[in-house]
Amino acid sequence: MEEIKLSAHNLNLFFGKKQILKNVNIDFIKNQVTSLIGPSGCGKSTLLRTFNRMHDLSPEAKIEGTLKLENLNIYDKKNSVTEIRKRIGMVFQKPNPLPKSIYENLSYALKIHNFPKNEIPQLIEKALKESYLWDEVKDEFKKPAVKLSGGQQQRLCIARTVVLRPEVILMDEPCSALDPISTRKIEDLILILKKDYTIVIVTHNMQQAQRISDKVAFMYLGELIEFNTSENIFKQPQKDLTKNYVNGHFG
């Protein structure tokens, strides 16, 4: 039975007068990887960032529609945004470790959410092992995180998200700044993480979308054009626009 974890219903988003998202309806299924694909400027990153309310920072952004995490209304005023972001984690395009040590990068989120002090070391170890970073950093916790390689930094950012045990992980082109080997490691990691988390990932890389996703959503000019299983989207797309895009005719 497929259980809906995260959903958007009749979502419209405006930046000032410009409409970026047009009546988007989409459901993300628990423990699946869903890829958002589409040409630059189609609104896929914008859609991703609506779910953890990252647009709260932009005063000109106006959002209409209903977004839900299970039964929780994400934009309901009485729900705390920090609690929602704890349950919906995010990994960004460029690795953005905090200007602190490797250990502090992981302990920070636990501290601000008041996890008991004595549990923190185990939680950190677990998150680092899950992110396949443990063996590489276990002897240098005190090292500044920025000294790690780009791929390691991105896995640290994933570990930093995972350490809070979120329910959903949003990933905004997490491999676009990385070399093929690091990319591979992150893709493998995503496939392992989906056992415990619901993952939504924005990607420009068609092969990557095929390798890792259960479902694929194709967006164009702010609209959700087609949303189906990965196989259907890549093998038998229903719409010409989708077909042209996944075959590399534009984008």
């Binding site: 953890n52 984690g89 953005n96 905090l98 920070y108 601000i112 950012c157 998200t161 809070l164």
Partner: protein, 281 residues
């Protein structure tokens, strides 16, 4: 060929201007230090002025300037930094914030004597603080605020948004993000601005003229409601107001040397912080 000559000529012109500026600066420094050298000694910086200020040292002026700068700093830095954080992190772009920002930029351009008059009216008279090191420090604080706000805001602007998003996405509040990531990362830039502003405030004469600086005091007091002596004013007085100007000329140059050294030390510290920060990145 003509192009080459033109290029060479331009190069010489630019280099010449640079050298000329350095030369002028060098001559000024050499003039002051060579004439002040005979006056500067341990006694000069550790003793009170004696014999109608024709002999002795400038200890109270040094202590006064340090105390004054200290009061200026503890007043101006918290307000200035807080204001910059508000403007850069919280304030939404609007006509009002633009007016606030433009006003702050304009305040930085107001002649310092105006601050002196304002300090006299507000602190000395309206708030009954009297002519005191507190009044003078607060006046200098007002003068320093726009500089601290501007430099702090520039330092905060240089922190990329991805840094803020990193902690916000973990469920940190905006305040936690500012306290734990933005300000620590901007701290070297903020400190540099603060120190340079302090060194500028330490050399100001006009704002303290009406608000608390004294011609002469015969004791050192750390109490903020006392009048005080300050290096820049002492120098002004020795150079133009003294009854035996020729006789105290070396003392004037000595005072100038000490003031320059003090400011120089502050600038070196600022330079060091910036350098250390750069090599860390």
């Amino acid at each position: 060929m003509i192009k080459k000559i033109k290029y060479f000529f331009n190069w010489i012109l630019l280099l010449g201007s640079t050298l000329l500026v350095c030369l002028i600066l060098g001559v000024i420094l050499w003039d002051i230090f060579s004439k002040g050298r005979s006056a500067v000694s341990w006694d000069f910086i550790s003793q009170f002025p004696t014999n109608g200020m024709t002999k002795g040292g400038i200890l109270p002026a040094i202590v006064g300037t340090l105390l004054l700068t200290f009061i200026t700093t503890i007043f101006a830095v918290p307000f200035g930094v807080a204001c910059a954080i508000y403007l850069n992190e919280y304030a939404r772009p609007s006509v009002l914030t633009n007016i606030i920002r433009a006003s702050i930029r304009n305040l930085a351009g107001i002649p310092s004597i105006i601050y002196g008059l304002f300090g006299l009216a507000l602190f000395v008279q309206a708030l009954h603080l009297g002519t005191s090191v507190l009044s003078a420090g607060l006046t200098l604080g007002l003068l320093s605020l726009p500089y601290i706000i501007t430099t702090t805001e520039e330092a905060l602007k240089r922190i990329p948004n991805s840094m803020r998003e990193a902690t916000l996405a973990l469920g940190a509040t905006q305040f936690e993000t500012i306290k734990d990531v933005v300000v620590p990362k901007a701290l070297p830039g903020i400190l540099t601005g603060v120190i340079l502003t302090m060194s500028r405030a330490a050399g100001e004469t006009a704002p303290i003229l009406f608000t608390g600086v004294a011609f002469y005091i015969n004791g050192i007091s750390a109490s903020p409601n006392q009048e005080f002596m300050a290096l820049p004013y002492h120098l002004y007085m020795l150079s133009t107001q003294h009854q035996a100007i020729e006789q105290v000329r070396p003392l004037a140059y000595g005072t100038a040397s000490v003031l320059i050294l003090l400011v120089f030390i502050l600038n070196i510290i600022a330079f060091y912080i910036r350098f250390k920060h750069r090599t860390q990145e």
